[in-house]
C-alpha cells in the first residue's frame, strides 16, 4: 500500500444554523487521483475549503494530517506552501493581465522591488507547454477561451510546486475535447507522481480518471469505492449519491390543476460576455394553473439563466423565443413589464439580488409593488407597515418588528421576507429559484407550506431546485435541464432521483 499523503479526520464544520460537514473522514494516497462526488450542497466544496485553509484552523473541528504531520492552515498561503493547491470552479484569472502575470500573481518572480519579467514569461511559457498550450505567456487572458483558461489555472497551480492538486468541477465549462485533454493531462501528471482530488458531477469522467471515489452526502462521507475492487458504474455511484428515503418532509396539498396558463417556445439565450456561448438552448415548456413545475439540473445547467431571461430579460444577450400567457403573446423587455404581466422571479441569491440588507423588513416587502401602498407617489407609511405585518404573520417570519433590518435576520427568515415581497406584487406565476437554499429543515417545511398555499389559491409555481428530494416531493411535473437544454420531462408521480440523475448523466456522456 502506498503512503498516505493526506488524511482528514472527523472534520465537522458548522455554519450559522446549518451543519455543512458532519464527522467527515477522507484518506488520499500519494500518487492517486481521488474523486469526490455528491449532490449540490452535499459538502464537497466545503470540505476542500477546509483543507486549503479558506476556512481557517479553528473554524472547524477535527484534524488534518498531510505528509505525516498535523496541519493548522490559517489561509491558502499556508496550504500552498505545503504544495496543496486548489483550483476553484469559477476561474480566478484577471482578464486584462497576461497569462504570465496571472500565473505568478501573488507569487511574483524576482523581488518585491523588481519583478523579473524574463523569469515570469520564460517559466510561464515552460508551464504552458507542460499543460499542452502553445500560446505565448504574454497573451492576455481575455483573448483565450474558457478551456484554455482552465489549463492556465492548472499551469498556475504547477508553478506553485503543487504536490496535491484539488480541482473543483474543472470541466463544467469545457466542451468534450477540452475535457478529454484535461483529464488525460491529470493521468499524465499522476504518472509523474502528482496527487489530485477532483470534484465532479460528470460521473463518466470520474470513472474514467479516478482511482478511488468517495461519495459525500448530507455533509458526511458515505463510502469510498476503489477501482478494480468495487463496481465503478454510474448506476452504482448514483445509488450512493442519492440513497436516502423520502420521508414525510413535504406537506400534502390538494392538487387542483387547471388549463395551460403560460408557455415558453423556442427560447434561446446567449451569455452576456462570451457572445458565442449559448446558455439556454431551444427550450420549450408549458405551465398549468395551480401547478408546481419543477426544473431539475446541475449547477450551471442554465436554469437560473432561463428563469432570469424570461423575467424581463434580466439575464443574457440575444434572447429569442416566444412567451404566451393566458393565450396571448407577451413581450417582457424589462423587469417592470414582467411584474406588470404578473410574473415574479424569486432569486436564488437572496443577499445579492433579492433583498436590501440595509433596509428594514417593511421596505423590502413593498419594494416591488410600491404602488400598492402609495397614492400618486406618496407612500402611506401606515398602510405599508400593516402590509408588512400581515405578511410577517402569514409567513410566520420570526422577527421582533417589521422595522428590523433584513441583514440581521436568519437565512430562513430572509427567504420569507423575499417571498413576502413577491407575494405582495400579486403575481399569477412565481418562479422560485432555489427557494430553500441554505435554510434549516423547519423553515424549509414552512416554505413548502407557503408554496402549497399559493397553488391552492390558483397561482402557478415554477420551482428550480438542486435538491432532488425537494423537487420530487413538491412537483406535479419535472423538467430536467442539462447544458442549456431540456433533456426530459417526468411526471411528478413517476419521477425518481435515479431517473433524473441518469437523464443528466446520459446527456453529459453523449458525443464522447
Amino acid at each position: 500500500m502506498a503512503k498516505i499523503l493526506l488524511e482528514m479526520k472527523s472534520i465537522t464544520k458548522t455554519f450559522p444554523g446549518v451543519k455543512a460537514l458532519d464527522n467527515v473522514n477522507l484518506q488520499v494516497e500519494e500518487g492517486e487521483i481521488h474523486a469526490l462526488v455528491g449532490e449540490n450542497g452535499a459538502g464537497k466544496s466545503t470540505l476542500m475549503n477546509v483543507l486549503s485553509g479558506i476556512y481557517p484552523y479553528g473554524s472547524y473541528e477535527g484534524q488534518i494530517f498531510y505528509n505525516g504531520e498535523e496541519c493548522h492552515f490559517t489561509n491558502t498561503k499556508d496550504s500552498e506552501r505545503k504544495g496543496i493547491v486548489i483550483i476553484h470552479q469559477e476561474l480566478a484569472l484577471v482578464p486584462y493581465m497576461t497569462i504570465g502575470e496571472n500565473m505568478f500573481l501573488g507569487n511574483e518572480q524576482g523581488n518585491p522591488l523588481k519583478i523579473n519579467w524574463h523569469d515570469t514569461y520564460g517559466k510561464g511559457d515552460e508551464y504552458l507547454r507542460i499543460v499542452g498550450l502553445s500560446e505565448s505567456s504574454r497573451t492576455l487572458i481575455k483573448d483565450i477561451g474558457v478551456g484554455k483558461q482552465q489549463l492556465v489555472e492548472i499551469a498556475k497551480a504547477l508553478a506553485k510546486n503543487a504536490r496535491l492538486l484539488i480541482l473543483d468541477e474543472p470541466t463544467s465549462s469545457l466542451n468534450e475535447n477540452e475535457s478529454k485533454h484535461l483529464l488525460d493531462l491529470l493521468l499524465k501528471f499522476k504518472e509523474e507522481g502528482l496527487t489530485s482530488i477532483i470534484i465532479s458531477h460528470k460521473l463518466n469522467e470520474v470513472s474514467y480518471v479516478a482511482d478511488k471515489i468517495t461519495v459525500v452526502r448530507d455533509g458526511s462521507t458515505i463510502e469510498t469505492l476503489v477501482k478494480g475492487v468495487d463496481d465503478f458504474s454510474e448506476a452504482r455511484i448514483i445509488k450512493g449519491m442519492v440513497g436516502r428515503d423520502l420521508s414525510d418532509r413535504f406537506p400534502a396539498r390538494e392538487s387542483n390543476i387547471g388549463d395551460v396558463c403560460f408557455e415558453v417556445r423556442d427560447w434561446n439565450v446567449y451569455h452576456p460576455l462570451y457572445s458565442e456561448r449559448k446558455v439556454v438552448n431551444n427550450v420549450n415548456f408549458y405551465l398549468r394553473r395551480g401547478e408546481v413545475l419543477g426544473i431539475s439540473g446541475l449547477n450551471g445547467a442554465g436554469r437560473t439563466e432561463l428563469a432570469m431571461s424570461i423575467f424581463g430579460k434580466s439575464y443574457g444577450d440575444k434572447i429569442s423565443g416566444t412567451l404566451i400567457k393566458d393565450g396571448k403573446v407577451i413581450k417582457l423587455n424589462t423587469t417592470k413589464d414582467a411584474i406588470k404581466n404578473k410574473i415574479a422571479y424569486v432569486t436564488e441569491d437572496r443577499k445579492g439580488n433579492g433583498l436590501i440588507l440595509t433596509n428594514p423588513i417593511k421596505t423590502n416587502t413593498t419594494l416591488s409593488n410600491l404602488k400598492g401602498v402609495s397614492t400618486s407617489g406618496i407612500i402611506d407609511r401606515d398602510k405599508e407597515f400593516s402590509v408588512a405585518v400581515d405578511y410577517k404573520e402569514k409567513l410566520k417570519t420570526k422577527c421582533p418588528t417589521v422595522e428590523q433590518y433584513v441583514g440581521n435576520l436568519s437565512g430562513g427568515n430572509q427567504q420569507k421576507v423575499l417571498l413576502a415581497k413577491w407575494m405582495f406584487a400579486d403575481p399569477d406565476i412565481l418562479i422560485l429559484d432555489e427557494p430553500t437554499r441554505g435554510i434549516d429543515v423547519g423553515a424549509k417545511y414552512e416554505i413548502y407550506c407557503i408554496i402549497n398555499q399559493l397553488v391552492e389559491e390558483g397561482k402557478s409555481v415554477i420551482m428550480i431546485s438542486s435538491e432532488l428530494p425537494e423537487l420530487l416531493g413538491m412537483s406535479d411535473r419535472i423538467y430536467v435541464m442539462s447544458e442549456g437544454r431540456f433533456v426530459g420531462e417526468l411526471d411528478g408521480e413517476e419521477a425518481t432521483q435515479e431517473k433524473i440523475m441518469s437523464l443528466i448523466v446520459n446527456d453529459n456522456t453523449k458525443g464522447e
Binding site: 423575467f311 424581463g312 434580466s314 424589462t334 423587469t335 417592470k336 414582467a338 411584474i339 406588470k340 422571479y345 432569486t347 445579492g352 439580488n353 433579492g354 433583498l355 436590501i356 440588507l357 440595509t358 433596509n359 421596505t363 419594494l367 416591488s368 410600491l370 404602488k371 402609495s374 407617489g377 406618496i378 407612500i379 407609511r381 401606515d382 407597515f385 400593516s386 405585518v389 418588528t401 415581497k421 406584487a425
Partner: protein, 397 residues
Amino acid sequence: MNNSKVLDFVKKYTMVFVLIAVVAYFYVKTGGGILLPSNISNLISQNAYVFVLATGMLLCILTGGNIDLSAGSVVCFVGAVGATLMQSKGMPAWEAVIAMFVVGTLIGATQAFWIAYVRIPPFIVTLAGMLIFRGLSNVVLDGLTVTIADQTGFVNVFGGGADCYIKDFFGNPGGINVTCILAGILAIVIFVGINVRGRMVRQKKNYEVENFAPWATKLIIISAVIAAFAVRLAQYKGIPNVLLIVVGVIVIYSYITSNTTTGRYFYAVGGNEKATKLSGINTNKVYFLAYTNMGFLAALAGMITIARMTSAQPTYGQNYEMDAIASCFIGGASAYGGIGTVPSVIIGALLMGVINLGMFSMGVDQNMQKVVKGLVLLAAVIFDVVSKRGGKFIAKS
C-alpha cells in the same frame, strides 16, 4: 430600556450628542460667546449654502456613495450668469431667478445623462464638470467681479444685504422680535401637532407605537431647541430670510426621501442595485434624478451665495462641494450608499458650522481649522465603517 436598547439609542443619535458636546466645549472656551444671538444668526446665514448643497449631495451619495465634485463650480457659474443677467443685461430679478434655476437644472441633467444612461463614473463626469464650469465662470465674468447694485429685492430675499431679516410686524418692542417668537411657537405647534396626530392615528389603527416616555421626551427636547433658537434670533434681528429657504429645502427633501416612492428608490438603489432592478425599478432614472436635482440645488445655493456677497466672482463656490460631502458623511450617510437621512445630514452640516464658528471665535488659525475639520470627517467615517463591520477595527484581508 435594557442595555442593547440604550446602545441602539446612543448609536442612532451619536452625532446629536457629539454636536451637544462640541457646543458645550466652545461655550466654555469662548465664555458663552458661541451662543450669542448674533452668532446663532450668523451660523445660519454663513452655512445656508452648505445645508442646501448637503441635501442635494445626500441624494447622490444615497445612490451608492457617489459624489458630485462639480457642485461648487456650478454654484459659481450659475451665480455668474445670474449676476451678469441682472446687472449687465438689466433683467428683472424674478426672471433672472428662473433663468438661474433653468441653467443649474440643465447642467445637472447633462451630467446626470452621462452618469445615469451612459454609465460614466460620477467621479469622472463631475470632475470634468468642476473644471468646465470653473472655467466658464471666468469666461462669463471676464475674470472680473460683477457687483449687484440693487441691494434690496433679490439680495434680501436670498439672505444678503443689511435688511435680510423678516421684519417684525409688532414694532420690535424692547428689542425683541415678536414675529420671530410667534414663528417659533407656530413651528413648535406644527411639529408637536403632526407628531401627536400621527401617534393617534397609529393607535387608532392598533399599530405599534413608540413608548410614551421616550417619545414625549424627544418632542419636548426638540421643542425646547426650537424655542431657544427662536428666542436667540428674536434677541438679534429676527428670522433671516435665508432661514425660510433652508427650512423649506429641509422639509421638502425630508418628505421626499422618507414618504415618496421616488425617495424610496434612492435608498433601494444604494442598498442593492441588482435587487432594485429585479424589483421592476428603472435604476437609470434614479441616478438621473439625483444628479439633475443636484444641479437644481446648486443653482439655489448660487443665488444664496451671490446675494450674501452682493456680487459674483470667478472664485466663489470653491470647495463648497467638499463642505457638502463632508456634512453628509459626518451626518452618518454611508460611504457605500443606501443609508442617510436629510435631518442627520443637516446635523452634520451644523456640526461643521459650529466647529468653524467656535474656532473662529477662539481665534484658531485658519489652517488649523482645516486640519480639525479633516480629522472630524475622518473620525466620523471610520466610526461608520467600523461599527458596520460589527466593531472589528481591521478588515479581513
